[in-house]
Symmetry: C2
Amino acid sequence: MRFHGFFRSGAAWRCRIAFALKGVTPDFVPVHLRRGGGEQKTPAYRALNPQGLVPTLEVDGHALTQSLAILEWLEETIPEPAFLPKDPFERAEVRAFALVIAADIHPICNLRVLNHLKDPLGHSQDEVDAWYRHWNVLGLEALEAIAVRNAGKGRFVFGDTPGMAEICLAPQLGGARRFGVDLAAFPRLVEVEAACNALPAFANAVPGKQPDAEA
Amino acid sequence: MRFHGFFRSGAAWRCRIAFALKGVTPDFVPVHLRRGGGEQKTPAYRALNPQGLVPTLEVDGHALTQSLAILEWLEETIPEPAFLPKDPFERAEVRAFALVIAADIHPICNLRVLNHLKDPLGHSQDEVDAWYRHWNVLGLEALEAIAVRNAGKGRFVFGDTPGMAEICLAPQLGGARRFGVDLAAFPRLVEVEAACNALPAFANAVPGKQPDAEA
């Protein structure tokens, strides 16, 4: 297995947590999203990932893309420890939580969108940061409400084991903190994050500990 | 089952196709996204869907949200006709295709994002339309490349039956056309769309045929 990622990509960060939880250790291929106009835009990389985005997981001649599809593939091929509960309603709840982040927060605040707001749209760094915080706060408010409603179930959002919800939550809170989102309004999410970061799979996946990390 | 949606929402549109393919007919509850500042923002609706977005599927006391989570729930509870192939690699490919749309095109071009670009950011309607087209074209280019690579497999993207890929593709192309995206650059996608629209499940799910449709 070869994993193409970037230390700061939230989607790659999800996959790093997932690999560690499932006990797989792909070789890492850094794809620098800024250097040389973006290594993810080269023809060689686009042959693997036509979107020119990270991450990509190469395995047995297949190039798997989209972090949530990679998480589902891991879940189907390495069932334990499970990322999803067994009951279809509960699975839908966990997937919906993950999608609030993976569909409705992260892509709107992705590097390529932030860059587009600056050039060609001409927004200042302050305006770009405000954009990031706006969509994060909207999403995190919904997630906090869901997490509070489920708080009786255990240390994590939906029980006593982390899964797809936490795999998406921890990187998003990391990004939010970096952009100055005030997390005081989301105490349950921060509590879950602390429970996550007590586990090596989460603690070792943070951007600062990756081989391609920069200050 | 009660389905809360809006005729023009791409995410609700996906669910309508999926219900028809699986042979379920939930009662429809219209949620008007513009009237009265947006019916999706009322406390009553947010109790079902904390994000205040459509769609929501109420079933057996559960409120399922996020269209892709609803599709996966349908797939798990009503296996036939299948939305996903059996092989894990193929499932990952189909899910990735769906996620290019559901994560990396649609949420960036959603009504709430377009509204935000106008107010508070002050962009004109022309600039907002250009934003919509920019992110659609980027995503559709990747999808066309994937679809061309798989074209030998059948009438649809990954074979001779429609599934999660087409359920996401058809509404996105509908939206793209409405915003003036030139689809001539995506002949394989348009060909797949035509094969979709030959099926009643797709043809009857278009916005113009819904009870809450407006001109």
